[in-house]
Symmetry: D3
Subunit: 130 residues, 6 copies
Amino acid sequence: MENSKRYNKGIETIKKMVSDEEFEGISYMREVSPDFWDMIISFGYGDVYGREGLSLDKREIITITSLISQGLFDQLPFHISAALKTGITQNEIKEIIMQCAAYAGFPKAVQAMTIAGEVFKNIDAKELTK
Amino acid sequence: MENSKRYNKGIETIKKMVSDEEFEGISYMREVSPDFWDMIISFGYGDVYGREGLSLDKREIITITSLISQGLFDQLPFHISAALKTGITQNEIKEIIMQCAAYAGFPKAVQAMTIAGEVFKNIDAKELTK
Amino acid sequence: MENSKRYNKGIETIKKMVSDEEFEGISYMREVSPDFWDMIISFGYGDVYGREGLSLDKREIITITSLISQGLFDQLPFHISAALKTGITQNEIKEIIMQCAAYAGFPKAVQAMTIAGEVFKNIDAKELTK
Amino acid sequence: MENSKRYNKGIETIKKMVSDEEFEGISYMREVSPDFWDMIISFGYGDVYGREGLSLDKREIITITSLISQGLFDQLPFHISAALKTGITQNEIKEIIMQCAAYAGFPKAVQAMTIAGEVFKNIDAKELTK
Amino acid sequence: MENSKRYNKGIETIKKMVSDEEFEGISYMREVSPDFWDMIISFGYGDVYGREGLSLDKREIITITSLISQGLFDQLPFHISAALKTGITQNEIKEIIMQCAAYAGFPKAVQAMTIAGEVFKNIDAKELTK
Amino acid sequence: MENSKRYNKGIETIKKMVSDEEFEGISYMREVSPDFWDMIISFGYGDVYGREGLSLDKREIITITSLISQGLFDQLPFHISAALKTGITQNEIKEIIMQCAAYAGFPKAVQAMTIAGEVFKNIDAKELTK
């Protein structure tokens, strides 16, 4: 597979998971470092996320668990939102976080649940104003 | 729910995931610290793993991802084996590890894949001698 | 012990460590996820913090050290404040942080000391306005 | 304070915490890197451990918690043994580990408790053969 | 070497890496804890950074990599700025971050690249207004 | 660039850093998971290590620092050996580790220095028997 195909596959995969607005939100990276942007899309979303063998919703469970387990919360709202798009429910996200409490400790889970609560509130608020 | 019920639920849950031999393997903890053993079973497997709202195979994806993402490999063979019992395939475990390469770095994924390779080899060897 | 007893014991323990105002501050979690709130109180503060065998001030040394060593700073102001309530002095908290510099690296200790400085300043300011 | 004084203070502090045999065990580092050995003794045990303001047993609680919370187990037997010398009981070490289960996750605590169990068994065996 | 010499060497080293303004920015620590401030300067910048055997720019590569790999971003702007002063280029910093993507995972690298982009933008803006 | 070119570039890069024997040592991964092996070579060594903009020896400083800072020691002997091949001296590796003591804590540095000591001893023993 040529690199342009890897990139296109990455774009195709990420578009299934985020809104146009969210995609714009992360594409500032293209200006900071075009090479890193290419790695994120071609490798991260093309070579890895775009693989067959595991459904997108299971891949989001992995991503969310990995972020929480490493104590990395900056990209958690983005991936909670993406997870909901792949069919995971708000309740299942709470279950993931509670299991992380046991496996990665309560402090990380408390931070994650607080963030999840805010993401859900924003989404519910948007629904209401539709 | 009384504590004896939490403990029994934990035992019931863990028995779905491990062989009698594997269960014996971890129950040495009962001697080191009966109180900690009770926490593992009643809280870890009773209150958390035993919850509805997420299937056992998805819970194993979370556990395996959390262990790899934290660089904790001692309990990985146990949980790879448990994951296979909940219906996850060897191929899916490889997919989990490859996604962890992107989200938690290649060194952790290389260690995990090496361990997975050994677990699979042992299982396949057992199958042959049956 | 029945679950309502575990919960009550957790509430009793946490009330020794935080002001009513601080307790209100964390109880938003009850709305985000009542089940997770129950885990925090019944398991975290009931089963673990409420155990005999280690005094509350030593338990706070563990919590503060664990947060700093994992690079988790969000709940540090809460636990520095709780530690002071259990009888640990401001000076002892600085000692904990300096030892963490050696065991977990200077960057984590610098972040912790900055936060501790702010918590102490707020407390001293409140004392003055009494 | 001159550097030779810092070094001597470090040696004095560490000698309170380890047997002559254990001291020999770690002093191989002097051959690998004399400069690093000097840092460990002068800074680690002289400037930090040797400080007033926190008792040695509380310092060992910090060290053990920090090692477990970072998932670093190689030096845990050494520090569990040192902790016992400073007056911490076997039971209190189990309490530290159980609290780490809540704050740093069960997998780290399980590894720590397994190691603690082995250290205690070795010590008890030595006691019997006296 | 006496302690005042260690401190002076630390001050000398740090002054090569930061502007007077940045030095003022970190010296609030002197008020929070004079002892910790002394450790940072005498040990961190005197004993470690001030050592011969590795050039200052290579030492900054180590510091930046260590911060990113641990997911500690608070002191990253300070050290990116210091790295540029030791002769590392903006492009080389991007290379460090891209390599960290492979070795410590994309989420940490994404956070680091975002911060680097902001630091570079601020510096370029200052250049323009000169 | 097509994927076969990425793979070939990765092979070319890694061959500069390891002996044939060491290369054989890691290529067992090809059997465990051909896809993961391809990621390691094409992405890790082709897209990342093989990039211009940073010399191979500086890239090894990054890798070694990242492994130590994350507390991942399994691949450290491999990369210390590779670092020596790119022109880094034994003394510089000790300097990297001592700086990691300050930035990631002494326990990680002690483990790394112990491993480095063993790698150096093995290499020196080989030199003698030539």
